[in-house]
């Protein structure tokens, strides 16, 4: 029987961004990315799912208070009320599309959490779009 349990915590952060490719000038970026080449912003919602077996004593897969602090440190402080292009090092060579931002967040959290604990993340840039990233 699969006794694996998944627990999810959500956070929100607000960032500005523009899609830009380092090899392209402003006109070429606009042609490739359209309106997303202009600086704009999103209220991102991030759902972080951890996996494991509930600890026999605490009944927890992970202490959500610890997870809250970790998400504050690793995600909110890095991205909230920041410009993804100018205030973070991740988007000098790739545009901060939902896919690329989700991939960056997955890698940050996978490195920050105990090995094997991160199951998946779901990043919502708006109400009509979300990206799931999981191992494999």
């Amino acid at each position: 029987m699969d006794s694996q349990v998944r627990i999810t915590r959500a956070i929100e952060f607000s960032s500005s961004l523009r899609y830009a490719h380092p090899d392209l000038d402003a006109a070429a970026n606009r042609e490739r990315f359209g309106a997303a080449a202009s600086r704009h912003g999103h209220n991102y919602r991030l759902e972080v799912t951890l996996q494991g077996e509930p600890d026999p004593v605490t009944g927890m897969v992970a202490n959500l208070a610890d997870l809250k602090r970790l998400l504050e440190r690793e995600i909110v402080q890095r991205f909230d009320h920041r410009d993804l292009n100018d205030d973070t090092p991740y988007f000098e060579k790739i545009p901060p599309t939902p896919e690329n931002l989700a991939q960056v967040i997955y890698e940050i959290l996978d490195a920050a959490l105990p090995a094997g604990q991160l199951d998946s993340i779901r990043l919502h840039p708006d109400a009509d779009l979300f990206v799931d990233v999981s191992a494999g």
Binding site: T97, E99, N100, Q103, L129, D132, V133
Partner: protein
């Protein structure tokens, strides 16, 4: 693995009744949904694709491309229609399940034709309380 889901939707009418059953049998199985004059829903359609991130667009499928695929494969044939009139439902009752199967089939071939990604799943949200998924859930 990375999967991108976009929510779309269309309003449509349907009648839940099988041509192989009598009006009484349809009424017994489908209840008010068998009303021969029809009823309708704002169907939500959640389309999930998976594949490598294209280095040029930074996306699995450029959003405009996915919008065009949805428009041609789903919105065009299904929006503002009585679903029972469509070829997809000539021999099937247009339940949420059969609508999901039909839309999954249309989108899977369109995504295969027009992108390097593949369709992972389609979720049909018939009402805030009813939904149906076809494809891989994870």
């Amino acid at each position: 693995m990375i999967a991108v889901t976009k929510r779309y939707g269309f309003p449509a009418a349907h009648v839940l009744a099988s041509r192989e059953l009598s009006p009484e049998e349809n009424e017994a199985i489908f209840g008010p949904c068998a009303n021969p004059n029809g009823h309708g829903h704002n169907y939500g359609v959640e389309v999930t694709v998976t594949g490598p991130i294209d280095p040029d667009s930074g996306q699995v499928v450029p959003e405009a491309t996915l919008d065009e695929i949805y428009q041609a494969a789903v919105a065009e044939p299904f929006s503002h229609r009585l679903l029972n009139d469509l070829e997809d439902f000539a021999t099937r009752v247009p339940t949420a399940e059969n609508i999901a199967v039909a839309i999954h089939g249309r989108l899977a071939s369109a995504v295969r034709r027009s992108t390097r990604a593949r369709l992972l799943r389609v979720r049909i949200v018939e009402t805030p309380r009813n939904s149906c998924v076809v494809g891989e859930v994870k």
